[in-house]
Symmetry: D2
């Protein structure tokens, strides 16, 4: 999630706010199914149920599929679990393990290896703003990540076994640095020459029910701020010249989204006749936004909705994701012994 | 604002959430005027404009007035200024000075003095939850407060001149302590025997336009959690046996309020006919709450709306209020020399 | 540890700083053994080795023992483990369990029970200053404590089973509140009427080797600030009229202590002859303090020594202690299922 | 200050710790004067007294001077003021102004300008570890810095007047990122192409009297971790290909330094005869380090000494430095109107 400006400069951005875009492939797919009433051509979907989680693996196979659901060609995996919000450490550990398995399935370690005898260097990027709790997921993950590149370089071969060189950066957001996030990442990539990027980001949910109940992994990278209608350099294979895995969790809902949902909900009810509903659907987007403006007032698009315990939520989810990455990246680490390495 | 439970135990509290109560006397009064179309008996209102602030002094004179606007008999002063949200330190200093003047007008130092030759001991209470940014205003004020009681007691008389003994506590919230906030305050009051309480609290706004643009002072005390329909021991003259001045700032809007505002706004527009509007007004509160439930999902009443830069906002407002209290309580401190004492 | 004043007012306190007092009974006992060359009358000592910890149970049986080691009559249990400093979560869990067993052995639940059919209410006090990392152990423990009193009161009898009513407070320090910590505690005790206090505090170590490797439990209570030569109201059975269990961990070393240790170490070496050593031992305490003043300069007694990773250390130790208390206080909680309750 | 490893990996680094190096040119110069008993060839020194500060401008003119005081050829300005530690905002503002003047004198804006009609882009780097209070000065400065590059690029020419494009990054430390700090900086420099770097860092003081009473500016850049004997890529004109201004403040003293100072102090006293003193001076550095090891125990070189109120100290000093940089970089900002821009 891009939080580029801060209060002073972004008051007007809501005007360009897309009320209907979906950060999560699973929601975009569901919507397309609802719209078309059936299977989507060019998209394959496989679901798997676990005790405490539901895994959905969506693959956008071609441009037809990409058009249909508004998501780039590539793989999207969602892990849905109410346990993400909970406090049960055993469930958290289980989610870390599921995440690590799905992550390994997305990374082709043999392909990213710079040489048959060398382990790939992985660069983990914690996107987001550490000053804004709900947007701090990326930096929070880095607090629990095993960073090993500097040790790996100096370690004798026998000690390197079972570990891979991992480096990490929380680049901040445009409003804090004055530099596009992707430029900072690219600068570091060109110095450090990693073989793979894993980028973690907070996502904006389009319904509060999604808050902190889903982890999405994809191999299509990230476009910071794309959700708020700004053109920014993407962080993906094309811009970085190496594969980019994205991990995202919906941690915030824009107030504007809530208002929109409220209006939709009112129209769904029995209160209004079909005629009235149609009339509302046809009022200009501009009139709708004027109404939103009346409701949200001067803070506008800068208003976000989050649960009261969001600090603790971000902390827990950050730990779960870091655990999953640690297990996935270091072959000798298992869910049983990870505590020995931390 | 009381944040007593945390995610796990409060999911259902929204059912009792009063959608129409107003924390601010000024809003309650405006609404009453709107409803009755004229002056409210038993309530006096005086407005004063300053360069960077508007001061409104409302006095609820008798039970008739209290009934009319739903606020207890007593004095309510609001200082409205967009400068509270800004970064201009000169405006902040000006607001501190205005606050100090209004505070002095509410405190009758001669009445609270325990003896004609003794300065009163003032107990400043920072209500709210330091773990929840938007609810941390009270604790934040205490970070900038001049606490002098322990020094005062040991100082020679000539050094006491110009200062008053001030002590302070952030008692936390029920969910953190397992004890009602008022019980903790009462316990300390009975040990320390102060002559006056000043209690600072975050308020829930009923429109996002109110967020961080108003400071309300009153001499009627505070009822923690009253806004969320729970009966808790109040912090006022009756329970504490000493005068209680309350200082509050709206720092948060419940998501439920936003949804309600959205529904109201829709009905205000030209889209619906008068008949439809009346029909909606008459649907059961229950049906309305069911709709809210659909929109807000499992987090429900625990969802709060706040501006992205809320951390910095609370920091600034906390400093402004602490500055105002410091100047008001210590006769030798002026806006010009306060920096020498900190 | 009492951090009452802050930079501005405490510059001179080092003058009264006791260079030889020992917060830990185990160190006081060792020193006495070293001095007298044998067993100490009136003190019983039992040691027990565990895989990851050494437990020492010292009982000061009478006034003779109290005189000999400078500790009040009562029980002192130390749990020593280098695992406290480590990151191994399994060892942390083991230490929580050991702590819970020792805690249960110190608390006579049947004696503190207000009525044969009623569970005692326990009041957990987190002493120390949340603004000073090394002194924030008490408040940190409270972040992980199960606070149940407010739920317990409203819960039906069948749900109360297996839990005990627990309330908690971090009262701050004199410099933050202007009120003696014990006064605040006493005020709350008189309102809430708990049956037992458990007070957690940071201790000052007298050697850096002690930092974060020991948990001390005792049933003799706490005297805040006693370590720095100030007379403050104690938190013990006598002042609170209910039993007080103290839990402490050495988290900081005063710079003054390090300097003293350095001088002692120099004299121990081969560099100086016995004559010179004796000469040094006999220089006035005043001269020694003048030298300390030269070394530590204007910050003086406000200088503390702590390991670079002290933030993470306090976090981990806080979690371990909270875990131990949670298991000890709630009969249905075991190390296996505690995660289900958090 | 480089805090590269954390507890687990740095236990042994103290063995290479240079007990006699001086971060501050003014201390290095004083020592050289003391040693040689007179003026140092190749070094010019000019002092200036202000009401609340003493400014010393040292220029190392040639290699002879560099050899003599152990500092590279270049300019070193120290601003000494006890007001840095204080709470007086007026003195803080005065120090910001002095800093801005000295900074402007070190930056040759006309030389760094990329084109006669273009303002130079300035890259402000906040070195240090945000997780370790005393090492967090760099990141703290960035919290109060006016970052304008992203706004500047999009602003019409008339609005650009009076501002310069400023970008900023806190790159973290090796232990957090696995990447040498200078590599990250270099990567960003090659993407963003700034014309000047200003790097802020915490320094290790060699006497507690220096803590937070001095700001050093120099045009010679920074060598992260050089103080702890590790070879790291420097951040200077040679490595970055653009001028690098360094701003540093001593915020921490290594415990090892205190111990050394204690030993020195003992020998200075009247206790020991000249013979004994000489004997001690000639004991092997190794023996001395063994003694240090006994005193500091397992935490060793990871132990740092800091004043109790270090959090507040870093906050204040961070604000003062950010204020000075803001005034220096933006021509239309003056001490009087800076609050209007923040």
């Amino acid at each position: 999630m891009d939080n580029s400006g801060g209060i002073r400069f972004e008051n007007e951005y809501w005007k360009d706010y897309p009320l209907t875009e979906h950060d999560l492939a699973i929601d975009a797919h569901d919507l397309a199914v609802q719209r078309t009433g059936g299977e989507i051509q060019g998209v394959s979907v496989v679901e798997e149920k676990r005790e405490n989680a539901k895994i959905t693996r969506i693959e956008v196979l071609n441009e037809q599929g990409a058009q249909a659901i508004g998501k780039a060609v590539g793989k999207y995996i969602t892990i849905e679990s109410e346990g993400l919000k909970g406090q049960n450490r055993l469930v958290h550990d289980e989610l870390s393990e599921i995440l690590s398995q799905e992550l390994v399935s997305l990374i082709d370690f043999d392909r990213v290896r710079p040489h048959p005898n060398l382990e790939p260097t992985i660069f983990v990027v914690g996107l987001g703003n550490w000053n804004a709790t709900a947007d701090a997921l990326g930096p929070q993950v880095l607090n629990h990540l095993m960073v090993t590149r500097h040790l790996y370089q100096e370690a004798p071969p026998e000690l390197r076994k079972g570990l891979r060189p991992v480096c990490a950066l929380s680049p901040g957001v445009l409003g804090l640095t004055g530099v596009q996030t992707a430029e900072i990442i690219k600068g570091v990539v060109e110095q450090v020459r990693p073989d793979l990027i894993i980028a973690i980001d907070s996502l904006a949910a389009h319904h509060t029910g999604r808050l902190a109940n889903t982890i999405q992994l994809s191999n299509t990278g990230i476009s910071p701020g794309s959700g708020i209608g700004k053109v920014r350099m993407a962080i993906n294979q094309e811009t970085m010249k190496i594969p980019v895995i994205a991990i995202g969790v919906p941690t915030v809902v824009h107030a504007i989204t809530i208002v929109n949902n409220a209006m939709e909900e009112m129209l769904k009810g029995e209160i209004f006749s079909k005629v009235e509903r149609e009339r509302f659907r046809h009022i200009q987007e501009d009139e709708k936004k004027r109404m939103v403006g009346n409701i949200l007032g001067p803070f506008m698009g800068n208003l976000v909705v989050s649960p009261k315990g969001v600090d603790e939520l971000i902390l827990n989810v950050g730990r779960i994701i870091a655990g999953g990455i640690n297990i996935a990246l270091h072959p000798d680490i298992t869910p049983e012994n990870i505590s020995l390495y931390l």
